[in-house]
């Protein structure tokens, strides 16, 4: 008999992910190489997971029906990424992104998951830059801030480039590529 347990942590929402992470068991660094993880799909989610897990020392088998991760659908996304950076001092914050996302989803998503998403989202751009991932196909383009359309805060939307480009996030699978050996 299947019983679903969402495992949502207790405590104030701002602290849940931190305390949850603290309570998670860790795999000894030397033992990570004994584990293999099969990842199916090489869009942004699969590629970023492959790069991160490989960086930690796990063995990753990455399977894709494309001939190259560059063909993935999310790689061709025209839009951008939300990040509550508040560089322009217009009152954006993690809480506001959280609030907008729960409301925008018409109150049918888990608050804890959405809060965590808003919390970590600010790091995505930084992570990409740190990994040497240039946004857009050209290397001079990094990112700019644009209006966010339907969100309350007009300056949240982080574009890949001032042109709303068709190839905004092309290089992300390349970050997986740095750990990758083709079979």
């Amino acid at each position: 008999m299947t019983k679903l347990n969402s495992k949502i942590p207790v405590g104030p929402i701002e602290k849940q992910w931190d305390s949850h992470r603290f309570n998670l068991k860790l795999v000894n660094a030397a033992n990570k190489r004994k584990y293999t993880i099969v990842i199916v799909g090489t869009g942004l989610a699969g590629s970023s997971a492959a790069a991160s897990l490989a960086e930690l020392g796990y063995n990753v088998l990455l399977v894709s029906y494309h001939e190259s991760p560059r063909r993935a659908h999310s790689i061709a996304a025209q839009g951008g990424i939300n990040a509550p950076k508040n560089y322009s001092n217009d009152g954006d914050s993690i809480y506001r992104l959280f609030y907008d996302t729960v409301k925008g989803g018409d109150y049918r998503a888990r608050e804890s998951n959405v809060y965590r998403l808003a919390q970590v989202s600010g790091n995505i751009i930084d992570q990409c830059v740190a990994q040497g991932v240039p946004f857009l196909a050209s290397t001079e383009a990094c990112w700019t801030i644009g209006p966010s359309g339907e969100h309350r805060c007009p300056e949240r939307f982080t574009h890949a480039d001032k042109r709303d480009s068709n190839c905004s996030l092309v290089p992300i699978p390349h970050s997986a590529g740095r750990w990758m050996r083709e079979r």
């Binding site: 949502i8 993880i37 999310s74 996302t101 608050e111 998403l117 969100h151 949240r156 079979r183």
Partner: protein, 460 residues
Amino acid sequence: MDAGKVKFFPRREMLDLVVADGQARGIVARNMVTGALETYQGHAVVLATGGYGNTWYLSTMAKASNATAVWRAYKRGACFGNPCFAQIHPTCIPQSGAYQSKLTLMSESLRNDGRIWVPKKKGDTRPPQDIPENERDYYLERLYPSFGNLVPRDVASRRAKEMCDNGYGVGPTKLAVYLDFGDAIKRNGRHWIEEKYGNLFDMYHEITNEDPYRLPMRIYPAIHYTMGGLWVDYNLMSNVPGLYVIGEANFSDHGANRLGASALMQGLADGYFILPYTIGDYLATETFQSLKETDEPFQRTTKDVTERIGRLLSVRGKTPADDFHRELGKVMWDNVGMGRNKKGLEAALKEIPKIRNAFWKDVKVVGTADSLNSELERAGRVADFLELSELIARDALHRQESCGGHFRVESQTEEGEAKRDDRNFTYVAAWEYAGDGKVPKLHKEPLKFDYVKPSQRSYK
């Protein structure tokens, strides 16, 4: 830094999940070049296989995007969360004919500077430049003075459909509304628009042979994203131990409607910052039996896949898989699309099994299993869409409320906005496979709102 920690296997399509001793331990995939079935074994499996928008046949997704990986996992015991929550994007280039195989999205950002309108007069056939300002209805600005053209996708899509249904649609098919940059060009100059949206304007021009610098674009809503997906817990693990689901493939963060610029955000958050922590906890606490690819669980699953492929090839019918898919898409779009009602959903639940039965009696799959065979790939995917679609319709029928992208005509406010029923439906619907031909079991995960108090979404 080629540490070789990632081994990449391109051109392999996952066709089944291997569960051993209750744990997800690997997959069976078909080498799409040689046709050989291969197994991949690990201590955990992560699905990052995207959404199932192509169930509706026409969508903004790539033609090859499919639901097979998540559907196979569902049939191995993973629950499917909120399958009826699909997003219909308001700014796509309208369909031009029955044999079109996909739709093209025009980025949402266009709504920042474009104004959406239809003629005030029904059935107005004048070209847009001949319709004077005071005979245009900028309906989003009229209905939602504070958000105007930037209302969320579900609202913008539904209003566009409503305008067309009521006879105000434009263009040859009358299933389109205008997205007009005339004012923005007057205000900021053509150069400014070129800088900002030049490539999108070029793309539109190429596809429609109309110059959007001179004439307004024509747009119409299309299926774009699926908020539903495999159910996962806070650790992004499904109810099958060791099976993780990330990105669009899971159901987790967007509720009944996703906001713009948050799909990439969620996919990368899952992959970069969440999964690497949570998967370690599982690996550190579980014990694993040593398993070889020649062992029974892998052999048994490979046999299942072989049989299924054999079934597809042995039908030897006359109708290509795509025809069944197109037929399914019409039922889905008409009955399980933007406006859903009990009668239409019940009709879909009758219609879908009929199409599925016809498929298994008459599908034509040329070629063999042991070679490159795109017809076989397609037939396998369509067979899965023909099952998943039924679950989507069932979920939509059971959720007798409107919320986000799920609009039940029976449940709307006086102004025609989605009306939730929080008392009865504040839960995640997670469906569990119960066997072919059996009604799946519904689990309800109650949702609690301690911080953001549910209210009627208003964008006026």
